[in-house]
Symmetry: C2
């Protein structure tokens, strides 16, 4: 495959150029020939321009634009073992807070020549396995997952592929992979302290679904433990778990109100549930915070405009997305290990809490 091989290639290519004309996609070889250099030089111009003399560099670049050359990502990935892509597996995009994180992640990647592959797990750990497998097959250089609750196969896949992975949104000591998130439990803990400080004794919660969701679980635990610490009742009937919609929030409040001795304050697993609670309260003629205190979690943009403005926890979603991308990029660039990081998730005191009636 020396002279004969090359000729074969060129002959075929020349043929394609003439007959198969619908699509002529120039390759490195075409550029090399056009610029009168070797393919290695073309590759160098594209990848480490500094190692090529200015003269040839300009010549090659001219041909690249003249012929409209687009390098083949597949060939590049195959030869270099780097795809310049990163994958993100998220529970849902229909949650503004994740969408924001993903958008920030994508922006940082794009600014550095990377492209993002996204896949939505719908909170399903079994599906997630297939998604992670697929992303690894696609050759992503790194992976972003949400939380630390994952199927064993996911960990195995990450382990055996040696694909750098980082978990966001959560926080844990000695996590299996680096973790960029915040302390979900501490956040709700602070909320309860505040509520108890206002005089509330009957605190309820409309939590997110905690099964298979370490963030939701931590938030619920934060509430439970703090309630106990204050010596307050913390029965299961004060806790309902709901998926993610305004209607779920409404339903949550209805259920909490159905029992005798209903809570005077409700902590919510996220802002959407909190808004649902607020809507339902409004429709039932309950005034907030007069009759009922409500606290959310996420600080969605709309919450500050509500009347009353929702007291909530500010989740630094964009910062996490950006930081994750940067950590990955650094790691990929020079091997810098990815360090776990705990972001502050400050309590935003607004207008939906007050002393109980």
């Amino acid at each position: 495959m020396t002279a004969a091989g090359r000729t074969g290639i060129s002959a075929r290519r020349a043929r394609r150029r003439r007959h198969n004309h619908p699509v002529f996609k120039p390759t490195v070889e075409d550029i090399a020939v056009a610029a009168g250099v070797s393919t290695a030089t073309v590759s160098r111009v594209l990848n480490k321009p500094d190692s090529v003399s200015q003269f040839l560099r300009d010549k090659v670049r001219a041909e690249v634009t003249r012929l409209g050359y687009l390098p083949s990502g597949a060939a590049r990935a195959l030869a270099s073992n780097r795809s310049h892509t990163a994958g993100a597996v998220i529970p849902t995009l229909n949650n503004a807070i994740f969408a924001t994180a993903v958008a920030a992640f994508e922006a940082a990647l794009t600014n550095n020549g990377y492209t993002m592959l996204v896949t939505v797990s719908s909170y399903d750990h079994i599906h997630e396995i297939a998604h992670v497998r697929r992303l690894i097959e696609r050759g992503v250089d790194a992976l972003m997952l949400v939380g630390l609750d994952h199927h064993d196969d996911v960990w195995r896949l990450i382990e055996s592929s040696k694909c750098p992975a980082v978990a966001i949104w959560g926080h844990q000591d000695n996590p299996p992979i680096p973790c960029l998130g915040f302390d979900n439990a501490a956040a709700t803990c602070g909320v309860v302290d505040h509520l108890v400080g206002l005089g509330h004794r009957r605190v309820g919660m409309v939590a997110g679904v905690t099964e298979g969701n370490d963030r939701a679980r931590a938030r619920r635990q934060g509430v439970e433990e703090t309630l106990r610490r204050h010596g307050l009742v913390c029965t299961s009937r004060r806790f309902v778990e709901k998926p993610y919609s305004h209607q779920d929030g409404r339903d949550g409040l209805s259920e909490l109100l159905a029992h005798g001795e209903p809570p005077t304050a409700i902590v919510c697993g996220n802002d959407v549930l909190a808004m649902g609670v607020m809507f339902e309260a409004r429709d039932r003629g309950l005034s907030i915070p007069g009759d009922l205190s409500v606290v959310g979690f996420d600080n969605l943009p709309i919450t500050e405009h509500l009347s009353p403005a929702l007291t909530t926890i500010d989740v630094p979603s964009a910062a996490i997305g950006t930081a994750t991308a940067e950590a990955i990029l650094h790691h990929l660039a020079d091997g810098t290990p990815i360090a776990s990081r705990v972001f502050p998730a400050p309590f935003l005191l607004r207008q939906t809490t007050a002393a109980p009636a």
Copy 2:
């Protein structure tokens, strides 16, 4: 490169297996050897299992799972000229309506073995060029764009790469690429008819930024033309254009109210702006719809829970995302041409409109 070549490969691989042990990633060849078949058979088992005898099929599959084999997407893409990925270029992910469409698009792709690459253009046509180029370089089998306003270079890139592309959200006769969307102008036209029918003579608009955005432009034109058709005043001071935030909506209302003869009804370019208008009206003590009628566009989930519930246009975002993926998948599977499609975008009459005071 016959016997010698192969031996060379095997030798290298064997060496890697022993020394370089940190990561041993089996290849088709490893599977082939382990199963006692040729690499072609392994490939067939993976891609068209029906063409292989059950006996060998099972044998190969057993080795695949035993060795934890993950095919290399890059090699596969390079050899087959199909990456099994599709790209989406969207203006922003921080708009629930796009996030929903993207999520639906992704779900349909994933269900069919495809993976989605996403890139956010931030409404910047120049940036978009680079994004489209990159996606094409990555070898996406198809592309989803939003709207039909794009830089010439984008069209050129699509044209010369022969990458199937579809535009969503918009509508146009004889579009350059298939278009799955709805009639933005007709929608706001209907809105104005309704408002005028209620007796409004002074109708204003808080539009989205129309420059470089055919959807926003069509919505605004729908309002303008209908106003003229009814013989009503349609001056530029009745129109303000704003980006996408609640605050922008508030600002929009403030500006519209700053002039003498302020509008009695306001059509908004999207629901976020509409909510901003509602918040500002509330803070100014204006009652809706008593003092001011407001209409949104998108039908975000929250809008029906607002008080009063927002009258708006229902944008079939999930349906568009799903349909786009399916059309692309069909096209990729058997060449079925992608047909343009106009989705209904029904007017949802709720509680924010009434006859003027």
